[in-house]
């Protein structure tokens, strides 16, 4: 398995969950990988992966991160914008500070990373933005999160159109992936356990997704196999959004 041999990758939000699964898979596929997060380097991160403590919403942090990419790798071939935050509120409940936090990471961070990284993708590159199915259909009580993911879809298409053919840019829209973020969303249900069972019954795949499922698609999109794929937002949700939300079998 050497799909990403000779490639260099920057993955934001590599502490845990989807980001960590992507980091581990990219390493297994032969890429040199740098990742980042707001805290210190996690103890369980494999030694060969470079870590930079970074707040992607902070311009000087992002500039320092990309400077380090150039210093370590010389150039960049893969950027995965995975770092994201979720706030479980309607807009009426949302404060200005919530806006700054969420849009800072999910929207401004993606914009700044792309702005810095496109010029250092001197041999061409693949940008993969982690969007969400909630960019197209709203998850209740996640107003700003949903809107920030629609931003990601719009930016993805723009980058593909403006910076092709050298740069390919696609988004992955995960459905329910078993991470801390999904647990937080279920926690606000009246009965989290029955909410989980109901959600499960709505998945033709018969299960929720795992971070490694997303890493599989990220790897394909990062590789030369995906040479004709650009400007798309690919949904990976175990079939959930292909079925109507009104499921009489569950009544």
């Amino acid at each position: 398995m050497n799909m990403l041999r000779h490639k260099t990758a920057l993955v934001t939000g590599g502490r845990q969950g989807i980001g960590r699964a992507i980091v581990d898979r990219f390493v297994a596929e032969g890429a040199r990988v740098m990742t980042c997060g707001r805290g210190p380097r996690p103890d369980d991160l494999v030694a060969e992966v470079l870590w930079e403590t970074t707040d992607v919403a902070d311009k000087s942090d992002v500039d320092a991160l990309t400077d380090r990419v150039v210093a370590e790798f010389g150039e960049l071939s893969i950027l995965v914008n995975n770092a994201g935050v979720q706030i479980e509120k309607t807009i009426v409940e949302t404060t200005d500070a919530d806006w700054d936090l969420l849009m800072g990471v999910n929207a401004k961070g993606v914009f700044m990373l792309c702005r810095d990284c496109i010029p250092i993708m001197v041999k061409g590159g693949s940008i993969i933005n982690i969007g969400s199915i909630s960019a197209s259909t709203a998850d209740p009580g996640l107003a700003l999160y949903n809107a920030s993911k629609a931003f990601v879809q719009g930016l993805t298409r723009s980058i593909a159109v403006d910076h092709g053919p050298a740069i390919r840019c696609n988004a992955i829209s995960p459905g329910w992936i078993m991470t801390g973020m999904a647990d937080a969303a279920f926690a606000v249900a009246n009965d989290p356990d029955s909410a989980k069972l109901d959600a499960l019954a709505r998945h033709p795949a018969g299960r929720f997704g795992e971070p490694t499922d997303i890493a599989s698609l990220a790897t394909w999109l990062a590789s030369d196999e995906a040479g004709f794929a650009t400007g798309q937002c690919y949904t990976l949700d175990g079939g959930m959004t292909s079925a109507s939300p009104l499921n009489p079998g569950l009544f």
Partner: protein, 252 residues
């Protein structure tokens, strides 16, 4: 060669066509046992690819083929519904006979093949069905009315099959190619005018500055067929070099 499909069996309708033959070749290279099903045998077949004479519009042939296959194979892991035709006409110029013919191949053929393949597909521990939709199922190319309509039907059928058969462990997706360099595309370009400048104009409007090759499409079919895509179902995978990411480009 990663042999990502080692131990899997695959049945590809339209298996000798532009995209179908690239798929069969890739599947065989990845270690699958492959049947290319099509109307007429090709001059040559890739290694490990077997040809079967098959007509997606004939219910008896579909039923008998899978009855016979069930005697030889104990499961079918991958079904690719790639058989399809294109009719370059507006609805006004399309005869009822032509309309019925393109629906018989592009839609009814997918229904019949999937229907009779299902008992064998169900025996796979990790089954993947891949249908051929099109970017034309979303946005129209001029003068391809019936074709566009068939691809819209394929997209809806794909979601329905994913919804109904997902709980049985069967994943169903569609690939929606944009412009791919096949005999079908050459027909669409037609004979008239300056074909080279037309081709260049078409390439230049793509963010990738090229149209696709059958191998590009086979790359995604291969991924969807493999266990790497084990969470991918019910989706329409547009693969078009970024063409549909942009609004129409005016010549200013």
């Amino acid at each position: 060669m990663s042999h990502i499909l080692e131990g899997k069996t695959a049945f590809v309708t339209g298996g000798t066509g532009g995209i179908g033959s690239a798929i069969c070749k890739r599947f065989a290279r990845e270690g699958a046992q492959v049947i290319a099903a099509d109307l007429a045998a090709p001059a040559e077949l890739p290694e490990r690819v077997e040809f079967i004479a098959y007509d997606v519009t004939d219910e008896d042939i579909c039923r008998n083929t899978f009855n016979e296959l069930a005697a030889r194979w104990n499961k079918l892991d991958i079904l690719v519904n790639a058989a399809g035709i294109e009719i370059e006409k507006t609805i006004e110029d399309t005869t009822l006979e032509e309309w019925n013919r393109i629906f018989a191949i592009n839609v009814t053929g997918m229904f019949l093949t999937s229907k009779y393949a299902l008992p064998l597909v169900r025996k796979s521990a990790a089954a993947s069905i891949i249908n051929f939709g099109s970017y034309d199922g979303y946005i129209a190319d001029p003068g391809l009315a019936a074709y566009c309509a068939t691809k819209g039907a394929v997209h809806a059928l794909t979601r329905a099959m994913a919804c109904d058969h997902g709980p049985e462990g069967i994943r169903v997706n569609a690939i929606c190619p944009g412009y791919v360099d096949t005999p079908m595309l050459q027909n669409f370009f037609g004979e008239s005018g300056d074909i080279e400048s037309l081709k260049k104009a078409v390439r230049d409007v793509h963010p990738t500055r090229t149209y696709g090759t059958p191998e590009d499409i086979a790359n995604l079919v291969n991924w969807l067929a493999s266990d790497e895509a084990r969470y991918a179902s019910g989706q329409l995978w547009v693969l078009d070099g970024g063409l549909s990411a942009q609004v129409q480009q005016m010549s200013l």
